[in-house]
């Protein structure tokens, strides 16, 4: 029925995931890092939904899972931004290079 093969969706998800990964690991701005992570989550969601429709055993479960992912992502962003703001209040920066308390 569909003219679009599974691999096309998966490839798209892969590309987005790679972009998100690269962004998350290179960007200096903490907010962009957070957003990149969101992008990766979205890529994963695409995969989930693709398999839910075109997978080996198609079922609605994939979409349910995607909903959970979105919910968790929302929670994560909320907490993430909150932490960010609180950090910013203390250190006046959002540059991730300055956030190295793990070391000290």
């Amino acid at each position: 029925m569909s003219g679009v093969p599974v691999s096309a969706y998966l490839a798209l998800a892969l590309i987005l995931f790679c972009i998100g990964l690269y962004g998350a690991l290179t960007k200096k701005n903490t907010i962009i890092v957070l957003i990149s992570i969101e992008l990766m989550l979205n890529a994963v969601n695409i995969n989930l939904i693709t398999f839910s429709k075109l997978g080996m055993a198609p079922a609605i479960t994939g979409q349910i899972f995607a909903i959970f992912v979105i919910a968790v992502a929302a929670a994560e962003v909320a907490v993430g931004i909150a932490i960010l703001l609180s950090l910013y209040r203390n250190r006046k920066t959002v540059n991730i290079d300055d956030m190295n308390q793990l070391k000290n």
Binding site: A24, I96, M99, N100, Q101, K103, N104
Partner: protein
Amino acid sequence: MENAWLIPLFPLLSFLALLLFGKRLKEASAYVGILLTLASLVFSVIVLVGRLTGATYKLEADWLQIGDLQLTVGFEVNQLNALMLVIVSLVSFLVHTYSKGYMHGDQRFPVFYAYLGLFTFAMLGLVLSPNLLQTYIFWELVGVGSFLLIGFYFNKESAKAAAKKAFIMTRIGDVGLFIGMILLFWQTGSFEYDEIFASVHAGEVSGTMITLTAILIFIGAVGKSGQFPLHTWLPDAMEGPTPVSALIHAATMVAAGVYLVATMFPLFAASETAMSTVAIVGAVTAIFAATIGLTQTDIKRVLAYSTVSQLGYMMLALGAAGYAAGVFHLMTHAFFKALLFLAAGSVIHAVHTQDIEKMGGLWKKLSFTAPLFLIGTLAISGVPLFSGFFSKDEILIAAWANGNYILFWLAVIAAFFTAFYMFRLFFMVFSGKARSEMKNVHESPVSMTGPMIVLGILAVVSGYVNTPWFGTFLGDWLVEGNEALGHGHIEGPAWIMIVATVVSLAGIYLAYLMYSKRSISRDWFTSRAPTLYSIVVNKYFIDEIYQTTIVYATKAISLFLRFIEMFLVNGLVQLVTGIVRGLGKTGAKLQNGQIQTYGTVAFLGLAVLLLIFALTGGYLNG
């Protein structure tokens, strides 16, 4: 004869007892040593008597199991070692007795006796050994006994050096014996003498191998018997107390090399090359050491070089197929050389110096020692009717009969030198005017003169067991029942005896002219050939040659290896530590607290793993 194994155990007992209780016994230690060696002597005599009438006796027990190989230890009594047992235990007993007087007052008196016990044990064990391995074991132990006694005055740097030198030089020889022994073992499958000889006799060993092993074993003998070129330790060994020189470095241990060659005689006899090697080394040593003996001024060193020279004679005899002659000379030499050393010790004891230039006119003061010394000197010079005359004559005949005319004449010349330097020594010490500084000269106590008298008698009479005039009893007995050993007595032309007599008398007369009557100036020779003289007086610079070649080479190799160690090995260390440190630093750098770095590293690891996974198809296959 079944109890012959007890013989070496008495001195061992003495060694152990003195080691444990020596401190308490003090000088009473001497009695322990003397009594126990006396026991050895008694047993040895019993064994000898038993052997004279009985047959060879051998007893063995398992010692070491290597897989299927079975090595044994045991003891054997045959003609040769029955004779040696008596010689060794007799000389040892006499030296034990003598030392009681000589070492009186020494702080380490018990230790001295303990060492003597150890040495005697080892020497007797060596003599009793029925196989090469056991021989080698005692061979080394004898070396240790000698080492300990040479270094007895451990505070003296020279004694320390001499002990070290003796041990190492003989060990070089020992390694030859070691290699020869093992090669022979793999060739014949046994360390047992009789099995080796049987195998050699049956032609199971190739000719080259016989020659090779024989020469290697001979190297061992060269080291122990102070033959050229490994002789340099023996004169230095005179740093030890004089009784030790008499026991070890004259009568017994140095003769062990000769004994070894005699024991292995069937092997040597199977190889022409090996025999002539032995003969040539012996003859060269005889003349070589004799020339050095002409120039020395230390009483003990003169005797030491004469020992080297006489040992050369014995080697020559064995190399010239004169088995009985060699062993005969070994016996007579043991007596008269021990006598000479003990007498020399008595002189040293009296005048507290070893320099013969400082002695003179002692004939009257040492009324016991001097005649005894004279007997020894006459015997070694080969003056007729003394023991040395007969044995030396046998050797010359053997050399002549074997066709080695060059070696024969070398031996004759050496005999002349021997007579000359021995009487030079005698005249310088005993004749002439007494030196002013020699005032408190006194004769030695009975414990010292007693053994000397016994040896003096033996030095005179021991030759008569094997003479062309009254029958060659000893020689016949020695080779009895063993064809491989050749003839007990070799008939030679009568003029040889005359030549030998003339030569020795000429030597004595020349010495008399130069050193007693002084009608010929002492410098007559020195002034005419100063270069030659300086070469000889410096012992042909052998020590210096060794010093500049071998010792420096060793040092050079060591330094070179240290260089390798410093740069190559430590370089490796640096490399390893460098890598580890580098890894550590990189690791530390990664731990910069930034979550992104951690993430990157983790992710890169994942990527690499995935790559490997994808490229190898999922399984790391060897």
